[in-house]
Amino acid sequence: MGYFVVRNLYKSYGKNLVLDDINFSIEKGQVLSIIGRSGCGKTTLLRSLNYLESIDSGEVYLEDELLLSNEFPKKENDIIKKRIHYGLVFQSFNLFPQYNVYQNIELPLKLMEEKRKKDNLPSLLNKRIEEEILELLDKVGLKNKMDIYPSQLSGGQCQRVAIARAMALKPDILCFDEPTSALDPELTGEVLKVILELKVKYHLTMIIVTHEMAFAKTISDKVMFMDGGKIVDYGSPDDVFNSQNEKTKNFLKSSITLNQ
């Protein structure tokens, strides 16, 4: 089995099947991009992996540990313990407005450390919490903004803080849900650059739902094209972007016209 394996994932809203037999696996350090039209199920897939939506059936494994099945953990603490394997960066950043940049990262990290102490689990920190947070901010190029409030930052800066915050808990898999869709066009570059650096410098395993085709092509080891809740194409960027499948071809053609 691979590092991260998704098997036979199904989910429906009433009669509407939104995830239809999703199967894929990625290796450690790989980047998977998920592309497709709005409503194709790509965001639902990401949200299901992060326990924000329940699934009807299927399994998800990380290094042979069962992370997700249709039996949702009943105890909150059990979900939290599984959730720590993932980080999720939202389209709309969702920074906490009452905390400054530093505190936005510190809050979840501190609370997690307290919980782990209570459960006799090892600390997530390799060094003092202040140093860890500064290092994270340095990675996204915002070390000098640590006492600024989110409302005073640009969208691109907000998203970079959100990325640092998601990395603070040292997830095995970092997920991005259309990380640049809420940004002005001139700000997408700085965010994409940071994500690319995470791959090149730190070899993070990432799953990225995106509309940025050129970016997906550059960063991905695997690309998945979804349509109507199904995986239509899955493979290397070359395979998918040169696919002979009619649905994939149509989608890529329309998105390229849009990008121009």
Binding site: N50, Y51, L52, E76, N77, I80, R83, I84, Y86, G87, L88, F90, S92, N94, L95, F96, P97, Q98, L107, P108, L111, M112, K115, Y149, P150, S151, R165, A166, L169
Partner: protein, 229 residues
């Protein structure tokens, strides 16, 4: 001491009673309202329906009627007596009389119903993304509420809470229907003696008290201004 002085003393005594009714009502109804809000928002439907019904009744009937019911009905039906204070300190025992306690219970429950709806509106107005961000960062629901949602909610509910709090100051006068010796009760006693002006004098007390509260609310709003939602 002239007439003005003695009336002032009399009214100040009433004001103390009104003030304690006001402040103790807030201390009871804010936590109780939060609890009612959680019950109303519960995913366990019977509990939610029960509390929606309770809120409907509490907001749908006159507070004056509720004061009557709380004061008289437990005695009539179950022979229950509201407790009396026996500290021997006559001012204290008179201020926190049986009637005062009954009025306080009625106010506490009634205002909790109003507050619970304000809290519900406040919580529901916060973007879902804030809850989800907390969740994916491994925070428990309790932690999310206390560390992320609460302050944003407070910021949003300051104006509607201000409305209710100012209304409460004036509503304390309703306690005189069961003869709690609050400010309006004392002013009416003067009226019965043939003095009209103390009633306007009492009005001035309410006004100044509310002016002070308005000022404090402004400060609270300013303190929370840095949160841009």
């Amino acid at each position: 001491m002239g007439q003005f002085g003695s009336v002032t003393l009399e009214l100040l005594n009433g004001l103390a009673s009104s003030f304690f009714l006001f402040i103790l009502t807030l201390l009871i109804s804010i936590p109780l309202g939060l609890l009612m809000c959680f019950c109303t928002m519960s995913k366990f439907k019977p509990l939610s329906w029960l509390f929606q019904g309770i809120v409907l009744v509490l907001r749908g009937t006159p507070l004056m009627l509720q004061i009557f019911v709380i004061f008289y009905v437990p005695g009539l039906l179950f022979g229950f007596q509201w407790p009396t204070m026996n500290t021997g300190w006559s001012w204290f025992d008179a201020t926190f009389s049986t009637r005062f306690i009954a009025a306080l219970v009625a106010f506490g429950i009634n205002y909790a119903a109003y507050f619970s709806e304000i809290f519900r509106g406040g919580i529901q107005s916060i973007p879902k993304g804030q809850f989800e961000a907390g969740a994916v960062l491994g925070m428990s629901r309790r932690e999310i509420f206390r560390k992320v949602i609460l302050l944003q909610m407070i910021k949003r509910i300051v104006p509607p809470m201000g409305n209710e709090i100012i209304t409460l100051v004036k509503d304390t006068s309703l306690a005189n229907v069961i003869a709690v010796t609050e400010l309006m009760f004392r002013a009416q006693q003067q009226l019965n003696k043939g003095l009209i002006w103390p009633i306007f004098y009492a009005g001035l007390f309410y006004f100044l008290f509310n002016a002070l509260i308005t000022y404090l609310l402004k400060i609270a709003e300013r303190k929370l201004e840095y949160i841009k939602i």
